[in-house]
Symmetry: C2
Subunit: 198 residues, 2 copies
DNA sequence: CTAAGTCTAGACGCGAGGTCTAAACAACGT
DNA sequence: ACGTTGTTTAGACCTCGCGTCTAGACTTAG
């Protein structure tokens, strides 16, 4: 794969909507040509396959996320606050890149068969969360027993909430949604004592 | 699509492993022939497409789940207990049908473009959970503000935990996992002392 | 024994991915 | 101005796999 720059790199994001609408296998090369205006031979000059085009789009998305997440993880705050910040950052990604997030998640199986993306998706969210849960046990701001399971649960919860909003066409409002998710993850669904007493 | 019975119906589940390994679009008709022993023309005698074969497999899976879930939802128990039972039932499905669950979730995008399956996946889990959350507010066993978001979060959490176990080859232990998830969903991650004070 | 329905073999058309050739075009140093 | 190198494009081509079709074999019922 050659380095992609200039007009081609600028035009490729237009293909995201097509991938989101039809999925990787459902998207024809001609669809990408139509969406981007880049002729077919030019696409094959830069990429060796359709799959590689999508991988290029998703890699940039995931590396951006990884940078944000790494910064948050490194901050000097209680783990529970950093956890909330990561959730907000992840939801922000959904808000900013609806199409690419939709492809990433709805074509998850297809994508996790591309090794570089399988690692990237995992490293961008699951691993940092697992580390934060571990930190939280030590600084006392979180409690937990099975970090791996808990990290998966949090990852799944945030992901599905974002995906649901995207697939149903609802706008993604990161502050409001992350506040609710944060509360759910920290306090659960047990009614507050005050409320039951009343 | 003709009604599928007898030896063909008995052999088809063998195709689940192939679908799980390669995905819907990555599975060739010949792979299904090899896995099941059913000749190609016979498959096209019963089904009009490859997609229909997978749909047939998944429909039976989802209808079984829907039956279990409907029974649990109708029980005369506090909503929080019924919620726990549904989570356990869902994880049991993962344990009993690893391959089909893997296809269902990793090829989610491909599958939600098949209308009958899109509805079935939603109806089998998300809707019942949402109803239970609503019940829980009325019987006082659960608290919540945004049932739709919460239902998505729970659905995502349970799904990702199960999927993670399946994809990493770990055994799915429904009682242990649902107990942990249940605790997480009810009490969250806030350490115990702080919770009792507040 | 016929008739209807079930099952199977093998050949075919076709669409889409990806390769190849060759030509047009741009940028560059000499 | 001129070759050189790399970029971009058109169009023909090959291959693979889906789904169709014809036709025949086998099974069961009337």
């Amino acid at each position: 794969m050659r380095e992609v720059t200039g007009s081609v790199a600028a035009a490729l994001p237009k293909a995201a909507a097509v991938f989101a609408a039809r999925g990787l296998d459902g998207t024809r090369m001609e669809d990408i040509v139509d969406a981007t205006g880049v002729p077919r031979p030019t696409l094959y000059y830069y990429f060796s396959s359709k799959e590689e085009i999508l991988a290029w789009l998703l890699r940039s998305l995931l590396s951006d996320l990884a940078v944000d997440v790494a910064y948050i993880v490194g901050r000097d705050e209680p783990a529970r606050d950093r956890l909330g910040a990561i959730i907000a950052a992840y939801l922000q990604l959904f808000a900013d890149h609806r199409d690419l997030c939709a492809v990433l998640l709805t074509d998850l199986g297809r994508i996790t068969r591309i090794p570089v993306l399988a690692d990237a998706t995992w490293a961008a969210f699951h691993e940092p969360v697992r580390k934060l849960l571990d930190d939280g046990e030590h600084d006392g701001s979180l409690c937990g027993t099975d970090d791996d399971l808990t990290a998966s649960a949090i990852y799944g919860a945030v992901t599905m909430v974002g995906l649901h909003h995207i697939l149903t066409g609802k706008p993604v409002d990161p502050p409001a949604m992350s506040q609710r998710l944060d509360h759910l993850i920290l306090h659960g669904l047990t009614p507050a004592p005050e409320r039951t007493i009343r």
